[in-house]
């Protein structure tokens, strides 16, 4: 029998295959501090794919598309497992959409999106490694520049 490094949950979502260093960023996206159901966080777990991975299990939670998009930016290898009655009923890898609206802040302090009451908007130029271009000021941003809104 496979030994679980992090306990199983009966209902909810498991975010697996998070690069270890990104685990707490993903936890922040999900605002786990304010979740009143079971939350299990594991880091530096063994992974064939990533060598070391993080995992977050959240009882009773279904992620929104915005949360999935944000996770895809921070942890592009992550997989989502939807759990019902202790069974994985759906499993899929997060995917970065072609356009990002309102989820990333433009790093250009002079960009109009940082000064007017509008949503930021980016075109995804490259998904791996991530490269995005601001729709407004046309600046390019890479993974290190990305700050979630």
């Amino acid at each position: 029998m496979k030994k679980l490094e992090v306990s199983a949950i009966e209902e909810g979502t498991v975010i697996d295959q998070i690069a270890s260093k990104s685990t707490f960023k993903v936890a922040n996206i999900l605002d786990i501090q304010n979740i009143d159901q079971v939350v299990l966080v594991g880091v530096n777990l063994s992974s064939k794919k990533l060598n070391k991975k993080g995992i977050i299990k959240i009882g009773g939670k279904q992620l929104t598309q915005e949360e999935v998009n944000k996770i895809a930016l921070i942890a592009p290898d992550a997989t989502l497992n939807i759990i019902k009655n202790s069974e994985v009923v759906r499993k899929f890898q997060v995917a970065i959409p072609d356009t990002l609206e309102g989820i990333v802040r433009c790093f250009n302090p002079n960009c109009v999106s940082n000064h007017q009451m509008i949503q930021s908007k980016f075109h995804v130029m490259n998904k791996n490694p991530i490269k995005i271009r601001c729709y407004y000021c046309e600046r390019h941003m890479g993974g290190d520049d990305i700050e979630l809104a």
Binding site: N110, C111, V112, Q116, C134, Y135, C137, E138, H140
Partner: protein
């Protein structure tokens, strides 16, 4: 077929080679003869949230030469912006007063936001360090007129290549025409990596150097830019590079340069280019400034559907 009616002119990246060539052909038409009533009854709103004498006056001149009228402002402190009105609201209001909007703004991407907000055509007359597409069209028009064409030229860009939006846009546009590019600047004012990556992805042959003397003999065009004090957040950084390039007749006499070199500059100039150059055959920057009128006439007429 190129259709410009109701288009916005926001970024040179929005235009194909065919569209750029078409706009330059229309500009030539406007240059050859006056079309005094082409835009009679039409109103241009010049919204200048940042000062710019040449661009504003040349748009006004272009509209008036076509028989249209001009409204607008160049001091946002005397508008509702000073009361905290959003840019979207400002342009929505003006949309009801005019047929076409020209906007200059200190925020990058402001013209894109304006264009998305209103239903009349919007022309970007410069937004921060981002884009100034009509300047690029007039730069191309000047180069084409002085060199007889645009294909395969060797072009040097000199000065502030970090913040110099005119150089960025021109480099993008010339990428369509197989130009070889030399970016001449101090290390602190190098052209940003983004632009280099874009040019690389389009197969452009480019070189980054510190000194004009390294490349002067190879150039067909030298595009000089001012080191823009207003773009520096730190005055100390500006002082470090201020006056680093000073072109004069004597400097050119001591450099190896081709006889047919042409020097462009978006103006205004400060200390990077001496008046002793003005009377030489190299200098085409005043001609370049004057090209703004036929180019902007062509754009106004085409966007308003009066010329195709």
């Amino acid at each position: 077929m190129v259709l410009l009616k109701n288009r916005d002119i926001i970024s040179i990246l929005d235009f194909t080679k065919e569209e750029i060539s078409y706009i330059l052909d229309l500009s030539k038409k406007m240059d050859k003869q006056r079309h005094t009533d082409l835009l009679k009854g039409k109103i241009l709103a010049n919204l200048f949230f940042e000062p710019s004498t040449r661009t504003k006056l040349s748009f006004e001149t272009a509209m008036k030469r076509l028989g249209g009228d001009v409204i607008g402002f160049d001091d946002p402190d005397k508008t509702s912006t000073a009361k905290g009105e959003s840019l979207k609201d400002s342009v929505k209001i003006v949309e009801g007063y005019c047929d076409i909007i020209v906007i200059r703004h200190f925020l990058e991407g402001a013209s894109r936001l304006a264009a998305d907000t209103v239903n009349v055509p919007v022309i970007n007359a410069g937004d921060g360090a981002c884009q100034h597409p009509t300047q690029t069209f007039l730069d191309l028009y000047t180069i084409k007129n002085t060199k007889g064409g645009l294909e395969g030229l060797t072009v040097g860009f000199l000065g502030d290549l970090k913040y110099g939006r005119t150089a960025h846009s021109l480099a993008y546009a010339l990428a369509h025409f197989n130009a070889e590019m030399f970016f001449i600047s101090p290390p602190s004012l190098r052209i940003p990596k983004d632009y280099i990556e874009q040019l690389q992805s389009r197969g452009v042959s480019y070189h980054e150097v510190d000194s004009l003397s390294e490349v002067s003999s190879k150039l067909d065009i030298l595009y000089c830019t001012r080191i823009q004090k207003e773009r520096f957040a730190d005055p100390v950084e500006y002082e470090k590079v201020r006056g680093i390039y000073k072109l004069s007749r004597t400097v050119l006499d001591n450099l190896k340069i081709g006889n047919d070199l042409k020097i462009l500059h978006p103006l205004p100039r400060v200390e990077e280019m001496d008046e002793s150059l003005d009377s030489t055959d190299y200098a085409v920057y005043f001609q370049q400034a004057h090209s703004g009128v036929p180019v902007r006439e062509a754009l106004l007429a085409a966007l308003l559907g009066a010329l195709q």
